[in-house]
C-alpha cells in the first residue's frame, strides 16, 4: 500500500511544497508524519533523492528525533510528563497508575492498538502538574482517572 504509486505521488507533493524553504528536511518529516502517522520506510530514499542527501543522512535525522515514529501509534496517544516539576507533584505515581490503568507494563501501545502511553519531558505546565497530553488535549493536575476519561 505504502509503496504504491499513490503514496509516491502524495509524498512528492509534500516534498515539493517545502522545497522553497531553507533547511526543508524537518518540515518535510513533520508533514510526512502528519499524513501517515509515522515516517514510512519507503519515504526515506525518495526524500533523500529530492534533497540531494544520502539515505543514511535522512535515516540519521529521522532516528535522532524522539517525535518521529517508525510505526503508527495507537488511536489515542497519551503523553505523561516525566520531568522534575511534575515529579514534585506525584508525576512518577501518575505514570505508574496510567500504565496500570491501560494494562501496560512499560511505555508503549496496548495490544488492541487503542492507546499509546509515552513519556514527555515537559509541557510547560509546571505550575499545575502533574501534566499530560491526551491526543491534542492538555491536562493539568492530572490523575489516572482524568487521563482515562480524556482518552475515551
Amino acid at each position: 500500500m505504502l509503496d504504491s504509486a499513490d503514496f509516491s505521488a502524495r509524498l512528492r507533493e509534500i516534498i515539493d511544497a517545502h522545497l522553497g524553504l531553507e533547511g526543508p528536511l524537518l518540515p518535510i518529516l513533520h508533514a510526512v508524519q502528519a499524513e501517515w502517522g509515522h515516517i514510512p520506510e519507503p519515504a526515506i530514499p525518495q526524500i533523500a533523492n529530492a534533497l540531494n542527501l544520502g539515505r543514511a543522512e535522512v535515516h540519521g535525522v529521522v532516528t535522532f528525533y524522539h517525535d518521529f515514529r517508525h510505526a503508527p501509534a495507537g488511536q489515542t496517544v497519551i503523553k505523561v510528563c516525566a520531568a522534575e516539576a511534575c515529579q514534585a507533584q506525584g508525576g512518577r505515581d501518575l505514570v505508574a497508575a496510567t500504565l496500570k490503568a491501560f494494562g501496560l507494563k512499560d511505555y508503549g501501545t496496548t495490544a488492541d492498538g487503542r492507546v499509546t502511553v509515552e513519556p514527555i519531558y515537559c509541557l510547560g505546565l509546571c505550575a499545575c502538574g502533574p501534566a499530560a497530553l491526551v491526543g491534542d488535549r492538555l491536562l493539568g493536575r492530572a490523575t489516572a482517572k482524568s487521563l482515562q476519561e480524556a482518552a475515551q
Binding site: 533547511g23 513533520h30 534533497l51 528525533y65 516539576a85 510547560g124 505546565l125
Partner: protein, 509 residues
C-alpha cells in the same frame, strides 16, 4: 460586556476552553452582547482559569472558574460572585511584581495589533529605526541585558559581533526550545504577547543587518506554535514584518520552525544544526554562531525572553532598565515558580530577591502543606538547593557562587517526600536519553552514572567516589551544558542531602 478567558496552555489544561464555551452558550441563550477575548495568562496559575470582565468601572477578575460559575457571572451582581477576586492589579501577588517584559501578557488580545500598539507596542522598533547600529548596540550594552536562556552572555556584545561581521546574509534565530522542566516563560510570552517577540527580532535584524529570522519552537508547545504562526501573519499585514519595516525601515521577515522532541536542541549549536535539517548534534565553538551560525552565516541566537525584552529597553531607555537588579544582573527576571508549590506561576521581578522569599513568601510554601526539602533552580541541569541556602539572592553570579545556576529561572519546589537519590538518578537518566552522542563523557557517562547510582542505592559505598569522579569527567569533558551541567543536580543532591544516599546503604550493612 467584554469577557477575557485565557487561551494560555496552562489555563486550557485547567479547563479554560469549557469556560469559554459556557460564556458563548449563555450569551447566545440570553441574547446578551458579550465580546469574548482569549487572552494570555496573568501568571497566577493556581487561579486558572482566571476570567476577567471589563465594565465601565474597570476590569475585575474571577477564579478559578468552572463552566457552572459562568451564569452568575453574566446575569447576577458580579460583586457578589463567589469567585470574585477583584482587579488583578490589586492582588498582592501581582502588585508586587515589576512587569516589563510581561507587561502586556494577559492584559491584551494576543493577536490584536490595535491592542498591542495601544499598550506601548511598536515604540521600541520606531525608536530603533531612528538610531544607528552603534547607538543601538550602546543602548543594549548600557542596559546590562544578558541572555535569559541561562548562559547570561551580554546581549549587546553578541549583537555587535554579528553586526561587525561581513556577509551577504545574516540571520536572527530565536531559541524557543524551552525544554527545561519548571520553565514556561517563553511559552507564556509567545501565547500571550507574540508581537513583542516579533518586534524584538525585527529590532535585532535592524541592528545587525539581518533580513531573515527563525523562531524555533519545541513541538511540545502546540499552542505557542499556533499563536506565533498567526501573529507572524498578522504582523506581515500590518507592516511589522516584510519588505520595509513599518513602511520606512529595512526588510525583515521571519517564520516558525518546529522542533521534534530533542531536548539538546535547546543548545544553540544543536538548534542551528536542527534548523539546517540535520541531526541536532552539538558543534564545537569556535567558530561562534555570531561569526558562522545558521548555514555558516553570522547569526544572532537569543532566547525568547532576551529578544522580547529589547522592545521595552528601546522604548523606555537603558537607564530605566538598568535601574532594576543586583550586581551584574540588571533588569528584571520572569521567575517561574513551579512543582510542589501553593502559589505557582510567573512572577516577574527585579533580580535580587532571595530564594527563600521566592519559595515561601511568593510561592506560599508547598502545595502539599509539608515542609520544603529541596528547590531545583534552572531546570534539569540546575542544582538542588536545601533550605539552608535560601538566603541566596537571585542573580547570575550569586547562584554561581553557591554551586548552582539560575538557568532560565525555573524554580521547582519539592516537599520532604522527595528522595534525592532518585532525583540524582533521574538527572543522569535524562542525560542518557537526551544526549546527542557527540561527547563520550555525556553519551556513556550518563548511562554509567545511572548504574553507579543504582549501586549506591543497593548499598555499595565504593561506588560513591566513582560517581564523583564521573561527574568531574562529564563536567570537564563535554562540549555543551547537557553533559557539562548534569553533574550540578547530581552533585548538589549528594552534597546537600547525604542522608538520602546513606540510609539505604546503612540498612544494607
Amino acid at each position: 460586556m467584554k469577557v477575557y478567558v485565557p487561551r494560555d496552555a496552562s489555563a486550557r489544561a485547567l479547563g479554560a476552553d469549557a469556560v469559554a464555551q459556557a460564556v458563548i452558550r449563555e450569551a447566545e441563550k440570553s441574547g446578551l452582547p458579550v465580546e469574548l477575548v482569549r487572552n494570555g495568562s496573568r501568571g497566577m496559575t493556581w487561579l486558572e482559569p482566571l476570567v476577567e470582565i471589563e465594565t465601565q468601572s474597570g476590569r475585575t477578575a474571577f477564579g478559578p472558574m468552572t463552566p457552572e460559575d459562568v451564569p452568575a457571572l453574566l446575569f447576577k451582581d458580579i460583586t457578589k460572585h463567589p469567585k470574585a477576586i477583584g482587579p488583578v492589579e490589586d492582588l498582592p501577588w501581582f502588585a508586587r511584581q515589576t512587569r516589563l517584559t510581561f507587561a502586556r501578557v494577559g492584559l491584551i488580545d494576543p493577536l490584536s495589533m490595535t491592542d498591542y500598539e495601544a499598550n506601548g507596542g511598536l515604540q521600541g522598533l520606531r525608536n530603533a529605526l531612528g538610531m544607528t547600529g552603534e547607538e543601538l548596540i550602546d543602548t543594549l550594552k548600557l542596559s546590562g541585558l544578558r541572555g535569559r536562556g541561562g548562559a547570561g552572555f551580554p546581549t549587546g556584545i553578541k549583537w555587535d559581533t554579528v553586526r561587525l561581521a561581513q556577509a551577504p546574509q545574516k540571520y536572527i534565530v530565536c531559541n524557543a526550545d524551552e525544554g527545561d522542566s519548571g520553565t514556561f516563560a517563553d511559552r507564556m510570552l509567545m501565547e500571550g504577547d507574540p508581537f513583542t517577540l516579533i518586534e524584538g527580532m525585527a529590532i535585532a535584524g535592524v541592528t545587525v543587518g539581518a533580513t531573515r529570522g527563525y523562531v524555533y519552537i519545541r513541538s511540545e508547545y502546540p499552542d505557542a506554535i499556533e499563536v506565533m504562526s498567526e501573529a507572524i501573519r498578522v504582523a506581515r499585514l500590518n507592516g511589522l514584518l516584510g519588505p520595509s519595516l513599518l513602511g520606512t525601515g529595512p526588510a525583515f521577515d521571519m517564520e516558525v520552525r518546529v522542533g521534534a522532541g530533542a531536548y539538546v536542541c535547546g543548545e544553540e549549536t544543536s538548534l542551528l544544526n536542527s534548523l539546517e535539517g540535520k541531526r541536532g548534534t552539538v558543534r564545537a565553538k569556535p567558530p561562534l554562531p555570531a561569526i558562522q551560525g545558521l548555514f555558516g552565516k553570522p547569526t544572532v541566537v537569543n532566547n525568547v525572553i532576551s529578544l522580547a525584552t529589547v522592545p521595552w529597553i528601546l522604548a523606555n531607555g537603558h537607564e530605566a532598565y538598568k535601574d532594576f537588579g543586583l550586581g551584574r544582573s540588571r533588569g528584571t527576571i520572569p521567575l517561574q515558580i513551579a512543582g510542589n508549590v501553593k502559589h505557582g506561576g510567573l512572577f516577574e521581578t527585579a533580580f535580587g530577591m532571595s530564594l527563600g522569599e521566592i519559595v515561601n513568601d511568593i510561592g506560599g510554601g508547598t502545595f502539599s502543606g509539608r515542609p520544603v526539602k529541596a528547590v531545583q533552580v534552572g531546570g534539569p541541569l540546575g542544582a538542588y538547593f536545601p533550605a539552608s541556602k535560601f538566603a541566596t539572592p537571585f542573580g547570575y553570579e550569586e547562584f554561581d557562587g553557591q554551586g548552582g545556576l539560575i538557568g532560565h529561572a525555573g524554580v521547582v519546589v519539592f516537599d520532604d517526600s522527595v528522595d534525592m537519590l532518585q532525583q540524582a538518578r533521574f538527572a543522569l537518566e535524562f542525560c542518557a536519553v537526551e544526549s546527542c552522542g557527540k561527547c563520550t563523557p555525556c553519551r556513556l557517562g550518563a548511562v554509567r552514572g545511572v548504574e553507579t547510582v543504582d549501586r549506591i542505592a543497593a548499598g555499595d559505598a565504593s561506588a560513591m567516589p566513582l560517581l564523583i569522579d564521573l561527574c568531574d569527567t562529564m563536567r570537564d569533558g563535554s562540549l555543551c551544558a547537557l553533559g557539562g551541567f548534569t553533574p550540578y543536580p547530581v552533585m548538589s543532591a549528594l552534597t546537600h542531602f547525604p542522608d538520602d544516599f546513606a540510609t539505604v546503604k546503612e540498612a544494607a550493612e
